[in-house]
Point group: C2
Chain length 157, copies 2
């Protein structure tokens, strides 16, 4: 699939994209776009140009923002896909930058979520109305990761 394709977007992805555009304006300045959702793994894309740095590679802060919002969006879609909602907040994260990102567009993708962790996430939300989950995200190409990210998210009432 060409990475500029946005035809026939998943309605859930469309809702995520509209939410970001409406409620987090800096993601529009960064050109962050919802890209794909397979029911558990979200990918989001970013263009280099507005996020370039002194080396004409992507600014670390923009790469972190892309990963942070990919994790946030994953929690948003995990909830929405079960008809749930809540106030999603990131508590902490860590990130490693392995090599500069210089492609005109690049994609951050959520890594697979452990089955038990996912069940626990939904169980807490259903029975307590608040929950939490740790998510890993990476920006990678065929040669391996550019960036690996891990974030801890909570959902509040």
């Amino acid at each position: 699939m060409p990475i500029v394709s946005v035809a026939k977007m998943d309605p859930l992805l469309e809702k995520l994209q509209a939410t970001l555009q409406r409620e987090m304006p800096i993601t529009t300045a960064m050109g962050i776009q919802a890209h794909d959702w397979d029911g558990q793994r979200l990918s989001m894309r970013m263009p280099l140009e507005p996020n370039r740095n002194h080396q004409y590679s992507a600014f670390a802060g923009s790469l972190n923002a892309l990963c942070t919002i990919t994790g946030w969006g994953t929690v948003f879609l995990l909830l929405e896909s079960r008809g749930m909602s809540g106030n999603i907040v990131i508590r902490r994260s860590s990130i490693r930058y392995f090599r500069p990102v210089r492609t005109p567009q690049f994609i951050a993708q959520g890594l697979p979520i452990d089955t038990e962790a996912l069940a626990y996430f939904y169980e807490l939300q259903e029975f307590k109305g608040k929950t939490k989950i740790d998510l890993a995200v990476e920006i990678a190409d065929a040669e391996g990761p550019y960036v690996t990210f891990s974030g801890s998210y909570v959902v509040q009432e």
Copy 2:
């Protein structure tokens, strides 16, 4: 000192600000401004409005970008203040978000650098032409930290 004061800016701070505006355009969209430099500790400020999220508090990705650039700028100024320069790159970072930032403007400030770590930073740069340093940054008010950040930076030839 009122946080909107930019009169009589330190020439090193001015150089940092000009470098960011010229070479990292997204920092201008975020409204990031060099604020103060005491020879070792850099502070940079950010307005809430362009960085607001769905809760009308600051987007975590913007807070991370502010801390990332405060660490980057600290290395830039540590080098510049000794007439040195190099390609400054962040390798990894971790961040904790304790409570939402809702003030119209806020400041990230570098924490004091260990004397031996600083001496080692300059020694490596002088004798090897490349160096590294770990830096801590926080966004805080009188009640304590909103955000604590730790980043590992390297300077390459």
